[in-house]
Symmetry: C2
Subunit: 354 residues, 2 copies
């Protein structure tokens, strides 16, 4: 089967998005947020079937590890209560998608982070999502300030309460920032990639994975700049008297395949061990158009991975087994949904560009 | 001949570096900075011949476009007067290196930027360095705040006074940040690469090069994350209704070869037109060690470029002609130094790892 480890619910029903705007306006006005709207199953189906699910079918993707829209997490908006409530309704909405399409989606949660608020306060929502909603991981924002980077590095002990819960629950985190308020940065064009690179360098500088051998992170967008500059990171580790990243980090850190052209994917697999790469597309997401040089969607990353010429064993690692290993709760979720490993069809349908 | 477009004077004499510390301490104490020390030609020779010049000879690099140590620019330190004085002594020291070794070095200046200070105030030092010291370009810091990114994007009109002078003088800028004060970032491990990616995305979002068709930037460190994510940037341009970067940016934006492993260099040349790549090594610099997988220095980027198998025409572009085109004042500087195109030897000496 083919598992996409990186999908965001970017097509959530309009009433959900409108409520967020009302929630923000109410906060700014010092008023109570309005009641969250009633959203019907049909509205959810409509928001999924014409976009995410259609594209998955066209591309032969069986299952997407699905989380709330990253750019809309907006941890810097409002205060802790605003973030907590927005997080809760986002995660609940993901749970409903999973409930409607258990064969095709499994949930990853947003955390109710807020600048200056201890990460302890996010542990309850992580537990609720994993233990009650059946989610298999979380998205962790290393910069809940939205571009000011006021939090401590991810290797600081202040993050440890979350890591303890992650290890206990056996769930990984995808390191994923959200919208950025500083006009120097474009969210998907620089802030996301910069955060990926920043997180990796933080991991390289510290002993986090000695303290938490069972902690796992997915660094999305192909690892930011890291694989392209793999020699630089190996050299910096050497200069800083740190162990080589291949030995010290790559049991705990994984990259996805959200790199939107063949040369980038080729580099990723040339440099990074196949055990450390999870198939992902970030669709329906950052880049929606069709590449005029190929005639296919930029984010149809399966085409690039298929073109690598990996043998069947490695291909299955990238498409399925690495995801099952990094997200161990996936097995139980798939069993609940009636999936068996390798049972689902992985044929591409003829693609009809949107 | 082989021109390295990206060398910093990281081995400047100890008394120069000590004066900077004294200057900072004086500023913090509200006192006058001490007099800048007298540095002999021998001290400069000693600081150059055993490191930069030796490595250049070993690697067959004829000429380095040489600028003050980037991480030490520290535009955020002190105030405008502190930055101006530090900039002046740095540039004067580069001029002395060039004077001692005109065959091997040509100068690029640091600018006296300071957070919140208009860029107009840097134009005088640019003119002095170009017109009086014979420099051929400048390093422009897009974030003089040292990591807070409080300046406007490089495409904002507030930067235009500098661009007008750059076009008039026909000199390019290398986009290069300095030290970073936020502990989330490592200067050479994430801040530099992030700034490269950030600058490129800023250029993609605006019409700067319509306003200044003759303006030229070198984005160092192989363009940050950009070549690895070239499909993402092409797709984002399409989504944002911007022209394709190949058409709108690549007459004005150039990348160097400071990518410290063969797969990265291979990707760079696979994705970016050869006319847009300038040979550079950033030595003696960010990464000083020897790659255990090759037995050679990580930053010996000539090895990677030589291994590409480019034909003689393209190789000469990367090693020489692109630099002459991007830095048009290089020709006059080389003529003054008695260089003729292709005249200098480019044989590698047997390398003796330091």
């Amino acid at each position: 089967m083919i598992i996409d480890c990186h999908g965001h619910y970017t097509t959530a029903p309009a009433s959900h998005t409108a409520w967020r705007q009302a929630q923000q306006a109410a906060f700014e006005a010092g008023e109570q947020a309005p009641a969250y709207p009633s959203i019907s199953d049909d509205e959810i189906r409509e928001s999924i079937e014409g976009s995410q699910l259609r594209l998955m079918a066209e591309r032969g993707i069986d299952l997407t590890i699905f989380s709330p829209r990253a750019s809309a997490m907006g941890h810097h908006v409002g205060d802790e209560a605003v973030s907590a409530r927005w997080t809760e309704v986002n995660n609940d909405l993901i749970a409903r998608v999973v409930e409607l399409y258990p064969q095709h989606f499994t949930g990853v949660c947003q955390l109710p982070q807020s600048p200056g608020v201890p990460i302890e306060n996010s542990v309850g929502e992580l537990r609720r999502c994993v233990e009650e909603l059946g989610f298999i991981g979380c998205n962790l924002n290393p910069d809940p300030s939205g571009g000011d980077w006021t939090a401590a590095p991810l290797t600081d002990r202040s993050w440890y309460p979350l890591y303890e819960a992650m290890v206990e629950l056996d769930v990984p985190a995808m390191v994923h920032v959200s919208a950025v308020t500083n006009r120097n940065f474009h969210a998907t064009g620089s802030h996301y990639l910069n955060a990926d690179t920043t997180a990796f360098m933080q991991f390289l500088q510290a002993d986090l994975f000695q303290d938490f051998p069972g902690l796992r992170f997915v660094i999305p967008h192909g690892g930011g700049a890291v694989p392209y500059h793999w020699g630089r990171f190996r050299g910096l580790a050497d200069m800083l008297d740190r162990p080589a990243p291949q030995e010290s980090l790559m049991r705990n850190v994984f990259f996805d395949t959200c790199v939107y052209h063949q040369p980038g994917i080729d580099l990723l697999f040339r440099v990074i061990e196949v055990d450390n790469v999870l198939f992902g597309s970030e669709m329906v997401g950052a880049v929606r158009g069709i590449d005029p040089t190929t005639g296919h969607h930029f984010d149809d990353t399966r085409r690039y991975v298929d073109a690598l010429g990996l043998d069947a064993v490695d291909l299955r690692k990238v498409y399925e087994l690495n995801a099952r290993r990094v997200y161990p709760r996936l097995d139980a979720a798939l069993e609940r949904a009636g999936h068996r490993a390798g049972a689902a069809g992985t044929e591409r349908q003829e693609e009809v560009p949107a």
